[in-house]
Amino acid sequence: MRSDFFKLPRIDELLSPRGFLKRAAVLTVVFAVFHVAGLREMTSFLCGMAPMTGGAAKLSALMGLGYVVSYLGFIVIVPILVIASALLLVSSRIWPVKPRV
């Protein structure tokens, strides 16, 4: 494991095309894991019903909430990050940022 794994990303790295795509990839992987794990079935908490009965009720609702958050990340945030990264790439080609002297 790289030693800088837990370091906060620098702002210029975060707001770069590569930074956007990295975050999009992470969100995609998280959603894929939750989806494959079958957590979509746990989203009935949205209608006010615990997805499972007994002691597992609260945990299953939490898992459902996790699924919804990851789903919104994948459906809403990922495309925005991808489009933004494309826009950044195009704009940097057209109007390159001049390095400070």
Binding site: I11, D12, L15, S16, F20, R40, E41, M42, T43, S44, F45, L46, C47, G48, M49, A50, P51, M52, T53, A57, Y71, I75, V76, P79, I80, L81, V82, I83, A84, S85, L87, L88, S91, S92, V97
Partner: protein
């Protein structure tokens, strides 16, 4: 710094572009679920398949009902009602499969009546029903009587049954007697708590009984309509309030989880008033944001918290799962395709549909929610049959004409 500004502008632009396009990704194909007077649309058939299977596999049914009863015993009961209504419509749409559907209807009705007989009315009510006695001496709940009557009547519209005719008559006699005793002609669902939803359901059942049995409760229904219009309309919105005491004191104002079904039921007894209520609900509660349709639980003029009927309410938007689900029934009943498209687009986006082995379910919903959606998709034939039979029997003698039936056609009857 200029790079950061550029990145933020790119993010803002991307957000605007994507949010504007997002609904296209989930745009529902209404023809997959709705339309036509006969046959079943593929989406509706897939949704129905799961319900029919559930009532054929006791283990699956027990699991589903247990989950719902854990949150709300009413859902167990209402899920039965909406499924029976859906199956009755499906029987008329697809006569070739009617035997199968009627078999499920009978199983549901028989089991529901048996449970009520064994455990009493409280089995299908929330626990607070036991906190005090009903005001009416009979101790009956129109929530239970009205919906059982509606199930029995819907079954008889499809196929007559002497046994169910007697049961229907008993339920309605008791219901009408109780309503006549009330100052506002509405009966209790819970002790000293009347719900417009339940009373409107009762009225629909009464009109169905009139066409089935040749009785005529026109005068009673007319008095009831006059009473609710006089006593139970919210002055700010012109919409019927949802819950009130036996003497007509409002508990809850107009409520989305109630008004859409109320308008649907009123369509059998006063189509003009029903459409008026739908249009008001549409204006006060119906919303569309970025191509996604939804419904509020409360109008702007009435502040109340989320409850078991509304389901969780999303802040800012005030989006209610309960109201939005029932709004699908309202929009389908009154052929509001624009709103319906928005609602179904939202359902595809946030209802988490799963299609597997020819069956469809919405994971964010439950059995009662899916049954409401199924009923919304297939409703039409039962109501049309009641209207037609009523017009045939009364258009010349009483002069009451359902305005949703073309004048020329009504005149020909």
């Amino acid at each position: 710094m200029r790079g950061a500004v550029r990145a933020l502008i790119a993010l803002g632009s991307a957000t605007a572009v994507w949010l504007g396009l997002l609904h296209l990704l989930f745009m529902a194909d209404l023809d997959d679920f709705f339309g036509g007077d006969s046959g079943l649309r593929p989406g509706a058939a897939s949704l129905a398949a799961r319900h029919v299977k559930m009532w054929s596999e006791p283990t699956l049914k027990e699991l589903e009902l247990k989950k719902m009863r854990q949150s709300n015993a009413e859902w167990d009961f209402m899920g039965r009602t909406f499924l029976v209504l859906a199956l009755a419509n499906m029987s008329l749409r697809d006569p070739g499969s009617a035997d199968k559907y009627v078999d499920v209807i009978d199983r549901i009705i028989d089991e529901t009546i048996k449970i009520e007989a064994e455990h009493g009315v409280y089995y299908f009510l929330m626990p607070y029903a036991r906190e005090r006695p009903f005001m009416a001496k009979s101790g009956r709940s129109i929530f239970v009587d009205g919906e059982i009557a509606l199930m029995l009547a819907a079954r008889r519209i499809v196929r007559e049954s002497d046994e169910y005719a007697t049961l229907l008559e008993q339920r309605l006699d008791s219901m009408v007697h109780q309503m006549k005793d009330s100052p506002v002609m509405c009966s209790e669902s819970y002790p000293d708590e009347c719900w417009m939803f339940c009373n409107a359901v009762g009225m629909a059942a009464l009109r169905m009984s009139d066409v089935l049995d040749g009785t005529d409760h026109s005068e009673f229904i007319s008095d009831w309509l006059a009473s609710i219009k006089r006593n139970l309309v919210d002055s700010d919105t012109g919409m019927l309030i949802s819950s009130f005491s036996v003497d007509g004191q409002a508990f809850d104002g107009p409520e989305g989880s109630s008004i859409w079904m109320v308008a649907h039921c009123l369509d059998l007894v006063d189509p003009e008033f029903a459409r008026d209520q739908y249009c008001r609900a549409r204006q006060e509660l119906g919303r569309s944001v970025l191509g996604f349709g939804y419904a509020r639980e409360w109008p702007r003029s009435w502040q109340s918290p989320a409850d078991v009927d509304s389901g969780p309410i999303i802040p800012v938007l005030e989006m209610s799962a309960g109201s939005s689900g029932m709004a699908v029934l309202g929009a389908a009943s009154f052929e509001d395709r624009e709103f319906l498209l928005g609602l179904m687009t939202s359902l595809k986006f946030a209802g988490f549909p799963v299609r597997r082995d020819g069956e469809l379910k919405f994971c964010a919903s439950n059995q009662v929610g899916d049954a409401v959606l199924l009923y919304a998709m297939v409703q039409g034939p039962v109501w049309a049959s009641v209207k037609r039979r009523w017009n045939e029997a009364h258009v010349s003698s009483v002069g009451w004409v359902d305005k949703s039936v073309p004048v020329a056609a009504a005149g020909e009857l």
